[in-house]
């Protein structure tokens, strides 16, 4: 039996760091980042590298039909539901070296030290790299975990096409052809728990210089496409009273929403990031404007209230145009299992690593896993909260701290 702390003290900082650097060579960009989109040749090469590292550990690789890659660390009782542990290795087109990757490499490092200490847990452990978390090539993302958790049918995922018209399903078939040695298991299986280590992608931990974030949950998110329909007219001749200016109405909506969707604690996140104007010519009154809304809040009731406000403002300010409010995403806020959060917090305490609770502002595969098993996340700091960016930067000591917690937590969960 491995005593508490034996795994943590063996975490190899150099190995962990070097593997981040090595994985970053697959899809490396000239500005120090990574372009390794889902099911691309670069991502296939990175998967091959994971296999190379897993093999001497005796980990058994499997694919599922959604292209999720698993490595099994055996337990005493192979009939027990395994503990799942991992993240993703696909990246944004101008992504960094740590987003997703850290969660997979930390889980692999945990397996390394488990093997070194001869740990044989009660339950098996499955390290996982979820397929297409980022959604930059095939949108929307989190495809692999959605399929695994039956949140979205695999057929719908396979039918998605990238910008070149390539179907995700065809790329999945290519994956299985490129890796014929990896058996394809049935989609989905009972898991005892899922733990995901991830960089925070926000500024809180880095600003406070605290290495461990115990993620309380993921804030709720609603996204919309607002379309405003007016009428094209000549800028020089058409009087104001005869215009139905779609941009005039849209600007009033955006301005009003920015003044109304606010709170004293600055918790709500309201963003209009995209605006498209037609015909978008300087001397033509716009006939059509569409704009995106990204609305987030950790509390469901607050989020719903702001959403009602959004629909009211867009309806009230449309005239003399008409407006259509289309909701694209409606993900309610989520709270991770308290027993797992307690276990992470206690484990950090026992390892003398400072930890705080904080919510995740971004979505993660853990959102989907939370629907099928007790789920938790461990955050580590990233510099200035910068992520989805080639400048993404992380301290090795923080990676090590997070990996220590992950290894000890996983071992405890697998021993139950």
């Amino acid at each position: 039996v491995t005593h508490f702390g034996a795994l943590a003290e063996r975490i190899n900082s150099t190995r962990l760091w070097d593997r981040h650097e090595q994985l970053a060579t697959f899809g490396a960009t000239s500005r120090g980042g990574v372009n390794r989109q889902a099911l691309s040749n670069e991502e296939f090469a990175a998967r091959r590298q994971l296999l190379t590292w897993a093999e001497p550990l005796g980990l058994t690789p499997t694919h599922d039909p959604a292209g999720n890659l698993f490595f099994r660390y055996p337990g005493r009782n192979s009939d027990l539901a395994p503990v799942l542990c991992g993240s993703h290795i696909d990246s944004q087109p101008t992504g960094g070296k740590y987003d997703g990757v850290s969660g997979v490499l930390a889980a692999l490092e945990a397996a390394e030290v488990m093997r070194e200490t001869g740990l044989v847990p009660e339950r098996p452990i499955e390290i996982v790299a979820w397929m297409n978390e980022e959604g930059s090539r095939f949108a929307p993302g989190m495809m692999g975990s959605e399929a695994f958790a039956r949140v979205r049918p695999l057929d719908a995922i396979r039918a998605v096409r990238d910008a070149n018209g390539v179907m995700a399903g065809d790329e999945l078939d290519r994956l299985f052809t490129v890796f014929p040695e990896i058996p394809v298991r049935p989609l989905g299986f009972a898991a005892a728990a899922f733990v995901e280590l991830h960089i925070e992608q926000g500024p809180v931990l880095d600003a406070a210089r605290i290495p461990i974030g115990v993620v309380s949950g993921i804030q709720g998110k609603k996204t919309y496409k607002i379309s405003v329909f007016g009428e094209e007219a000549h800028a020089g001749t058409t009087p104001r009273s005869a215009r139905r200016d779609a941009l005039r109405a849209a600007a009033a909506m955006i301005d009003t929403l920015h003044r109304e969707i606010v709170d004293a604690d600055d918790v709500v996140r309201f963003t209009v990031g995209r605006v498209n104007v037609e015909p978008n010519a300087p001397s033509v009154v716009p006939a059509k404007v569409s704009f995106s809304v990204d609305l987030r809040h950790p509390e469901g009731e607050m989020l719903d209230g702001f959403a009602l406000q959004l629909e009211r403002v867009c309806t009230e300010l449309a005239a003399p145009c008409t407006a259509d409010v289309e909701r694209l995403v409606d993900a309610p806020p989520l709270t991770f299992a308290s027993e797992l959060r307690d276990l992470i917090r206690e484990t950090a305490d026992r390892l003398a690593l400072q930890a705080i609770d904080l919510p995740s502002a971004a979505g993660h595969d853990a959102r989907n896993l939370n629907t099928v098993c007790p789920t938790a996340m461990i955050f580590v700091p990233c510099k200035d909260g910068i992520s989805h960016n080639e400048a993404e930067s992380v301290l090795a000591t923080d990676l090590v701290a997070g990996t220590k917690v992950l290894a000890e937590v996983t071992a405890q969960l697998a021993s139950r």
Copy 2:
């Protein structure tokens, strides 16, 4: 001596209408419009057609170095400054059959009936087709009249390139090669007056069913590019207080300007027609927004006042972003010579044609001619004010009415 009304009663509606149809075959589009851009082969072919019509009338063709095409109807005293009369035959890429063309064909029809009645005016009359009014191929437009009036140096005009990199100067040289029989006269000459018939390109005359518009002048126009500079940020993580949202500031500006740049009489024209957002992604706080402003008013003082208001609003509402207000066009309002406007109004009255005064909302070659000689414009109605559009539509009776006034006005001017 031809008595008043003798020209008007001879205007040949069928000939005038058929020539519009025939000229529309050069660059005809499948949707009933015209794509006959400046100095293109299609425009050269249309010039050739004008020559064919002018020849039996004994009109003498000349080019000037700016590619303006003149046809001289001789007067008793060839030393006197001629009366200029015409418009342009180039079109927008999806233009109509009447914009510009009507002014040239009306002048040609006037020459037809002058010849038929044996009119020999005191002064010569020069019918003109100005080079590149539209500016869609070589931007900006009104090149021929700008060169003629010395508003812009010919060298600068010759240096302009189209989207394929072809220089206007090379196309001018090609014009002179294609038409070696047309002598090239020196650029610019003293003119006694310029009269341009044109479709209104606005709804006033058509709505009131009045055939003749006595154009009071051209409203002033200022255009701007406003650039707002903020900072890219993550829509899910960055609190409102830490954002510098370029779109939030731009929306406030556009909304405020739409509420402030108004007048009781609905005369000012304020348009934001183009908005560009960077990076224009739904989950990224916009880092940069630029938008166009098109501001017009017939009175210079009012226009300047609104312009000051525009700059103040953009400056005041920029924080926490910064804003840059760049003025692109500054064309002051212009009033045409009152003696010519009186003459047009009286002529219409004597011909029992209903006429009203109205300003031109759009720019015309007459703007440039007004800087070198007494200038006036006659508007005729176009359906629903639609122009710069393949659906441009005009009634033959309105064209005839306008041509009657043009012929009688030109004859009177040439007799002075």
